[in-house]
Symmetry: C2
Subunit: 351 residues, 2 copies
């Protein structure tokens, strides 16, 4: 029998596990709302993302990883805006209050919150099917936020790190690809414990012309930037960065391309930058241990074109994942799988 | 067959239905996050609340009312802080994208959003069991937010309007009380379409010593104020304001007291105020069509005491609703009802 907790005990456990003190948090948990004092000359950035068990993560995901990931996907949105994280609110729907589950969840959530100085300032716990909705607020110097709409013809298209690891991890977990235990564990970790690129996002302010995080899938997400900016792009598939584990699992570029192009959940940043800014950016990124990669170029002609090393066009049937258009099969989803599937991709639609 | 929508179509429909333009919203829906520009000298107030079908509203609730209520319960939190609403983010989990459902939801949400000038600045739609999580942000002049912690011995305990209507509406819907069609319809409306007391909350700034909204149940919510303020109170049960419909349904004060004391979902404000401020407040409230009622007094002795008209103590077995302590029956919940019940009370625990 799992130990049951009352509601206030539950909130209190989360608060203690995730406590981060900030001077701009005047009132945190414990009133009708949280009271924050924005710094002068700053804009506020707000984002929300929900994770549903069996939809956004496999049902066997460790609660510690659910805690981490539910905050990570939101901090990734702040990173894509170039914002510094400030605080988070957690709306947790749980079938029952299991103390061990909750402690593990709080450990994962708290580890990432402390790393980025994020205060948990509000919460709401409800009985129901497991669902985790996190809202984050961040700040950015006035008028300096990174938007999707600034890409210009001639800009380089870049990504902050390897693509496709999370999708490969899911495919391995679901038995759709065979891999050894070590590779499976490594790639599953990319799925369960994504790293939001917060410091890089801040470093990109005033340098990148547009940015987005890779959550729905690289093609879908770059597509959002292109539409918002009114431009097109050509991407060289062979240049997509792949992790060592991915290279060992799928040495052939063509075999891993579907996972890299359409698989979501990577939470790397995809950004555009004027060519003359690239060398300086590369040095700045290197100083923080990051090595972004140029994978294409923005063009005036609308549309997204993928080419192989020789410049030949590659057909890409599917550009992203849509929660509400399930008649089209998703490349990383098993054929004939029950609906809802045991585990699928991406964070759903974002707006 | 319900018409199915793609994700962006879905977000776009919501956006169009709920569009409110604000100068302090620099970027709304359509980027990784929303970008707001807080006014100088203002504090930000943040609150989140989740509504789960069958837990927070009866399963037969009209989607228009779900849209209204999901925003109303959050605006009520802002009202209790004395904050002016600015913007909302909506995390919607839906079993499937039914165009008619979504349009109706947007109509209800949008009607209340426009009434209070709330911009919908972010959204997230996910496939899963129906769940609606709304985050609101509001603003209040620096240092002027109403808190739960300011009640002082001698202050009057007041409520902004009738208590118990929503609980009675639920009891009628569930067949636990008999009432005519007209009364049932009237009280059901209190359950489905609560009115957040936003203007009154703003008017209470600098006048009320503490405030909270009545969501979990009057005793539970006043209890939060007492604990936060380190004081106690005596409440005269016969003074609890009751609507005409409630008086017709349950003319006997003792019969309606359980619904009024422990039933949640009223979203009236409960506040405390120094006696000398009361006449001025009453005039100010009257000017906005409100008639708050004095129902008790704050005392130095901790604890919450309920007395009848003669001053005799009334035993109150249960002070609120706890989502995760279901072994204790809830006064407004049917005995022997399946778990989760078809419809229950309150918004769950808040922090």
């Amino acid at each position: 029998m799992p130990a049951r907790l009352g509601e206030f005990d539950l909130i209190d456990r989360l608060r203690r596990r995730t406590a981060v003190a900030r001077r701009d948090v005047i009132v945190g948990i414990g009133d009708d709302g949280a009271l924050l004092r924005p710094r002068a000359g700053r804009d506020s950035v707000l984002a929300v993302d929900t994770l549903v068990a069996g939809v956004h993560f496999p049902l066997d995901t460790h609660p510690r990883d659910m805690g981490w990931k539910s905050l990570a996907v939101n901090l990734s949105d702040l990173a894509a805006m170039g914002a510094e994280p400030v605080a988070a609110l957690l709306a947790l729907t749980l079938p029952n209050a299991d103390r061990a589950w909750l402690d593990a969840f709080a450990v994962g959530f708290g580890a990432l919150a402390r790393r980025h100085g994020v205060a948990l300032v509000g919460g709401d716990t409800t009985r129901g099917p497991l669902s985790i909705s996190v809202t984050v607020i961040g700040e950015v110097p006035r008028g300096r936020a990174l938007l999707r709409s600034g890409a210009r013809a001639g800009d380089l298209v870049c990504v902050s790190g390897p693509l496709g690891d999370a999708a490969a991890g899911l495919a391995l977990v679901q038995g759709r690809i065979d891999g050894g235990i070590a590779i499976t564990r490594r790639l599953r970790r990319s799925l369960d414990r994504p790293t939001p690129r917060v410091a890089l996002g801040i470093a990109l302010r005033g340098i990148a012309s547009a940015a987005i995080d890779v959550s729905d899938g690289f093609l879908a997400d770059l597509g959002h930037v292109l539409r918002a900016s009114g431009v097109g792009a050509t991407v060289e598939v062979a240049r997509l960065p792949a992790s060592p584990a991915m290279r060992r699992l799928l040495p052939d570029v063509r075999a891993r391309a579907p996972l890299q192009l359409a698989g979501g959940d990577d939470y790397e940043l995809c950004f555009t930058v004027a060519e003359r800014r690239w060398p300086g950016l590369l040095r700045k990124a290197a100083a923080m241990g990051m090595r972004p990669t140029v994978i294409g170029r923005i063009e005036a002609r609308v549309g997204l074109r993928c080419v192989d090393a020789g410049g030949g066009a590659i057909t890409t049937a599917r550009a992203g994942y849509d929660h509400f258009a399930l008649s089209t099969p998703h490349p990383t989803r098993g054929v004939g799988r029950a609906d809802p599937p045991n585990a699928t991709r991406s964070r759903g639609s974002r707006a």
